[in-house]
């Protein structure tokens, strides 16, 4: 059941479980993206997302999230070399970048609200907020996972092999959240 016993596929059991979960998330986010694609032109009334989307601002937050994936793999690389302090540092950097991204989303959304585009303005705005909102919630959970790993790293012995596996699993989740954003950024923000 742990990495110590032989598994029928040769793949670590927890890694297999995480990939199965991530596979199911494709269906979750796919539904939300489909929803957006269906409704993006439906703005009979009220302001619609295309008028308000701030491409420069969102490009910067996309960059931030991409860099957080880099810091995540560097954290993992550091741990495989048993450099506990570097691993912890990179984990904190990832969490900070993720929190920055979420902060940017919150700022962007509050601006939209001020301009009169809310969750319930029209289906286009609703599907925009639901899609990006659920993504933001996933990022937030990811930040909590990262901070939990940092917390665990302060125990006697630091992040052990077992925890190293946890770090890799959190990393997979984190990168997944990043690739969902890669799709959202293009489909929602960049494609006219």
């Amino acid at each position: 059941m742990t990495a110590h016993t032989e598994t029928s596929t040769g793949i670590d059991t927890r890694k297999l479980g995480m990939w199965a979960f991530l596979s199911s998330e494709a269906l979750f986010f796919g539904a939300l993206i489909t929803n957006y694609l269906l409704f993006k032109g439906r703005d009979l009334q009220g302001i619609h997302p295309r008028e308000l989307l701030n491409i420069p601002f969102t490009s910067v937050s996309s960059f931030v999230l991409l860099m957080s994936s880099l810091t995540m793999v560097l954290a993992h690389a550091a741990l495989t070399r048993d450099n506990q302090r570097a691993a912890r540092g990179w984990l904190l950097a990832t969490a900070a970048l993720g929190a920055t991204f979420v902060g940017g989303q919150v700022y962007e959304f509050s601006n939209f609200y001020k301009e009169g585009m809310t969750l319930s303005t029209n289906p286009a705005s609703s599907s925009f907020f639901v899609l990006t909102g659920f993504h933001g919630a996933h990022v937030t959970i990811g930040v909590l996972l990262l901070l939990s790993l940092v917390g665990l790293s302060f125990r006697r012995g630091g992040l052990t092999f077992e925890h190293g596996l946890n770090l890799e699993l959190v990393g997979l989740y984190w990168h997944f959240v990043d690739i969902v954003w890669i799709v959202i950024f293009t489909v929602v923000y960049l494609i006219r």
């Binding site: 596929t9 793949i11 269906l38 996309s62 994936s69 690739i179």
Partner: protein, 95 residues
């Protein structure tokens, strides 16, 4: 780890990939502003898929993992793509 110890990119390679991702993103944003007509959307999609693949293959390590994991993840993507494409198609073919 388990039976076969997979290869890992080095930290330097990770940074290189990050650099490519930044360049691709810059290209995407440029396409948004240039808005060169009908080719814009397919080009953006291609760039998006490139970024997606880089992160999945190298950062998520799928290139070095067992084919079983690749197929597992691909299955979710495939099912989602096909199903949601059909749903959208039914809305656009109403009649």
């Amino acid at each position: 780890m388990d039976s076969a110890k997979p290869a890992h990119p080095s930290p330097r390679q990770y940074v290189t990939i990050a650099g490519i991702l930044v360049v691709l993103t810059a290209l995407e944003v440029s396409l948004f502003y240039l808005n060169i007509g009908g080719i814009n959307t397919p080009a953006l999609i291609v760039l998006m898929l490139l970024k997606f693949t880089l992160v999945v293959a190298f950062y998520m390590h799928l290139r070095y993992e067992s084919g079983f994991l690749r197929r597992l993840f691909a299955a979710g993507l495939a099912v989602a793509s096909v199903l949601y494409f059909i749903v959208l198609a039914t809305f656009y073919s109403r009649g």
